[in-house]
Every structure is written in C-alpha cells, then in structure tokens.
Amino acid sequence: MARRTFDIRAQPGFGLLALFTFFALYLPIAALVAYSFNSADSLSRWDGLSLRWFISAWQNSNVQDAAIRSLVLALWAATLATIVATMAALATTRTEPYRGLTFKYAFINQPLMVPEIVTAVALLIVFSRVKVWTGYSGMGYLVLAHTAFCIPFAYLPIRARLESMDLTLERAAADLYATPWQAFRRVTLPLLRPAVIAGFMLAFVISLDDVVITEFVKSGGQDTLPTYMLGQLRRETTPEVNAIATLFLALSVLLVTVFFFVNRRKP
C-alpha cells in the first residue's frame, strides 16, 4: 500500500537499482551452483539433475590432495599470523606514541597496499633463487608467504579490540601481585579472545582464498584448491569444476556466517 505522507528518505529509482544489484550479486553464484548439478558431460548442455560431478570431484585424488593442502596451509598461516599479530598488536596499542610506532603501522599494513601480482612476482624472483641455493622446495615458502599477507588481517581486529580495552583490570591484577605473565594469561587474553578468534578466521579465509601469490610461489605438485581450479579453467571445463566451486563456496559461506555471528554478539 502506498504511503500518502511524504517520505523524506525516498529517492526515485534507488530501491529498484538496489534490488537489481542484489539480483546481480546472486545470479552468477546461483548459475554456478545450478550447473554443478548438471548431469551432462559439458557445460554447454543441460541434461538434468544429478550428483555425478560431486561424486567425481570427491573421488578425484588431485582435488583431495589440493583441498587437504589448502586447509593445512591455511591452518598454519592463520595460526602463525594470529600469534605474531597478537604480539604486534600488544606492542603497538595502549601506549604513548614512541619512535617507530607509525613505522610499525605502515610496515604491518604494507601487504594491503601493494597489488598482489606485484608481491607475487617479487616472491617468485627471491624464492626461485633461494630454492636453487638451498635445494629446499617444500611447503615452507607457501607458509611464509601466506603468513606475511595474513598478518594485517589478523592484526586489525585485535588492535581494534585492544584500543577499546582500558588498563584498569590489568592494573588491578598487578595490584594483587599477579606477575605480568599471570596478568596477561588470566586477564588480558580472556578479554581479547573474541578478537583473536575473529583475526584467526579472517586470516584463515584470506589464506584459503589466495590464488595469485600461491600460483607464483608454489613448486611443482603443490597445487592448492584455488590454483588447481585456475589450472582447470584454462581448458574446456566440465561441471566438475562447478561442483568443486560449489563445495568451496559452501565452506566460505559457513565460515562467514560463523564469523558474522561471533562478531555480532556484543560482549
């Protein structure tokens, strides 16, 4: 029913454009998911519903390896990044400005400022030489590279939380003869936990999603799920890629939903 009063918030056509935007945001994803249930051999036809490509993806040993590698890599990178980011956040908040503080901010946020492809080729240059020198070409390079670009994502929520926390409770702990470590372990860390979890999850998703840096840093046989998919997209694709993408999508949505509700719950 049309409102007769003059609505000061209304702007002509805005609602329509907004609904179009939401439609446009979800149409491609819907198409991607729909085609993963296609029983045909190629994407150019639609032969009816089937789970055939999900089964085929699930049993594909390349996909299994890549998925496990992605998860292990993300777990390592996010854990390391969260630990060092928490330390860095403790070192850069709740203090009078000191020499080098701005430098630290710039340094920690640097991975956000540089285009990924630039960091990727710079790492290619350095790591390809190190690989020849040391003869080591394991997962260490990927873990190191992922940890580096995950740090700012883990750092931001932890720093934000620390800045809104005052020192009263820690001072009280100190007054009651807690050692600095006890105060940290029993007071600061529990208060910080939601932000640490948020930072870890952000870092985890960022590492899981990375394509470009991984593509340039990985050695042979170190495909992650995204680089495996990128390789598949080069050729004529079967709905199997859709099935992989749909499963990946489901995982991302799950993580984001958890993140959203963890973060929304006000302490």
Partner: protein
C-alpha cells in the same frame, strides 16, 4: 633521580615493545617488503637468455622497454604500442569499473541504510557473503552468465531477440563485467558505513526549504557521504588496476591488463627485468592513488563543505 627511573622504565618498555613486534615485522620483511627491493634491483639488470637475469650486470633495458621497443631491423627506438594499449586498457577499465560500481553501489548503500535497523544487518550480510567468497569462484560464476551458452545468451535466444549468441567472453566488456561484479561489495560497504551516520534532519530541512529530491541528493546527501564515495572508489580502483585473475579468465589470452603483462614477462616473455620494471610502475601508480586518497581524506576531515 625519580625522573631518571621513569625514563629508564619507559625505555625498557619501548624495547620490550620492539621485541614483541619483531616476529611480525620480520616475516613481513622477508616475505613481502624485502622481495620488492630485490625486484627493484632486478629491474636494473640485464635479462638472462632463458628467463631470470644476468646477475649484477647493470642495464636500463628493462625500464626502456616498458614504453619503447627496439626495431628488429634498423635498431631504432619506437613506442611499444602493445604495452601502451595494455596500460590504457588497465586504466580505462579500472575507471569504468569504479564508475559503474558507484552507480550501482550508491543506491544500494542508500537502500540498505534506509531500511529498519533490524533488517539492515541482513542486507549488509547479503553484501558480505559475495565479498568473502573466493575471487576465482566469483570470476568463474560470472563466466557462467556471459559465456556463449550462458544465462544471458540462453535467455536472449530463448526470447528470440537474437539468433546468434553474443560473444561477450574474451572481450573488454567481459573483463569490465567481471570486475564490476567482483569489486561491487568493496564500493557498497564503505558507502554504507558513511550513509549509516547520515543525519536525516538535514534532509528534512532541505525539503522544508522547498528543495527538490534531486537537489537534496546533489546538495545534501552526496556532500555528506563524500568520504564514503572516495573510500569506495579507491578500494575499487586500486585492485582493478592490479587485476590478474579476472582478465586472465574472462579476457582470454588477447585482452591483457597490466597484471597479465607482468606475468607474461616472467613466463613465455622471459624478460624478468621488464616484468620487474612494470611491477614497480604499477606499484607507483597505486601509491599515487593512495596518496590522493589520504590527502583528500584528511582535507574532508578537517573542513566541512
């Protein structure tokens, strides 16, 4: 004495703070900042015959070949048209992407910020989901819509509007559509953040003074949310300029952007110094855009207009 003790403990505190932040700084130095300096050095070396460089041999060839190329017959320098085309395509498509995402994102953010508070969260959540979905998957999803047997073409042929499928894949339009799709949330979210704080009493005052809807939009809403517009535009423009995955998948081999040109030099092109030089040029372009943003942001923060 007391002051000295205080200074001493303060100095000790600062030293402890450096130790605490050292691991993070070290990792970022080793795996992000340090390599950029190595790359800068590489851009001034002679290219190796099979990729890599001739280590330690100084040469400006990498930098000159960003814009110029040596004629294979008479050895004269001419403009490298292919590179200029790619540079122009990158800048042009990034600007288009920014404008289109702004046109779609502004009403969307406004729509969200005028919903009742409870449903607002849900709308924001709906924007956040694509934002956190893998970029590769979103690009692939766009491909499902625009490919020859994709949704757009099926619908158009089904309705009898066209009888040959539109060739959208492997064109600049495909890249543009992909970038708009992928970066749209980056426009909506900062716009929404500044619209959420919009004081609707000012708009009411505008209407009381007989302003039209258009005038309220131009003279009140847009000036008030300008910081969000600038932030969103920068957040969209910068990754667009460095895009690599989207043009690679949707543009095919021919319609390259700077990111793909860089990759080419480290792959089949076997010209690492050139690749390094283009990378640094791209980084400088991004830094300029960021500086522009920082200056604008501080100015609009200081005065109000």
């Amino acid at each position: 004495m007391a002051l000295n003790g205080l200074q001493l403990s303060r100095r000790r505190d600062v030293r402890k703070r450096w130790l605490l932040s050292a691991p993070a700084l070290l990792i970022i130095f080793v795996a992000a900042i340090g390599p950029l300096f190595v790359m800068l050095a590489y851009s001034f070396m002679l290219k190796g015959d099979y990729g890599d460089v001739k280590f330690g041999i100084f040469s400006l060839d990498g930098w000159t070949s960003v814009l110029f190329q040596r004629d294979i017959f008479d050895d004269t320098l001419g403009l490298a048209d292919a590179h200029l085309t790619i540079l122009w395509r990158s800048v042009k498509l990034s600007l288009y992407t920014t404008v289109v995402t702004l046109i779609l994102g502004f009403p969307t953010a406004y729509f969200i910020s005028t919903r009742p508070p409870l449903s607002r969260d849900i709308w924001v959540f709906l924007v956040t989901i694509p934002f956190w979905t893998n970029l590769l998957i979103r690009t692939f999803a766009m491909q499902q819509v625009i490919r020859n047997e994709g949704i757009v073409n099926s619908v158009l042929t089904g309705l009898g509007i066209i009888d040959q499928p539109l060739q959208i894949m492997h064109t600049d339009t495909a890249i543009l559509l992909g970038m708009v799709y992928v970066y749209l949330p980056l426009m909506v979210l900062p716009l929404y953040a500044s619209m959420e704080k919009l004081d609707f009493r000012l708009i009411e005052a505008g209407y009381d003074l007989y302003a039209s809807r258009l005038k309220v939009l131009w003279r009140i809403i847009i000036p008030l949310v300008k910081p969000g517009i600038i932030a969103g535009s920068i957040l969209v423009f910068i990754p667009s300029l460095g895009a690599y995955v989207i043009p690679r998948i949707l543009g095919g081999g021919k319609n390259m952007m700077l990111g793909n040109l860089i990759e080419l030099q480290f792959g089949a092109g076997r010209n690492w110094p050139l690749g390094a030089a283009i990378s640094i040029a791209l980084m400088v372009l991004v830094m300029i855009a960021l500086l522009f943003y920082v200056r604008n942001a501080s100015r609009s923060g200081a005065g109000h207009g």
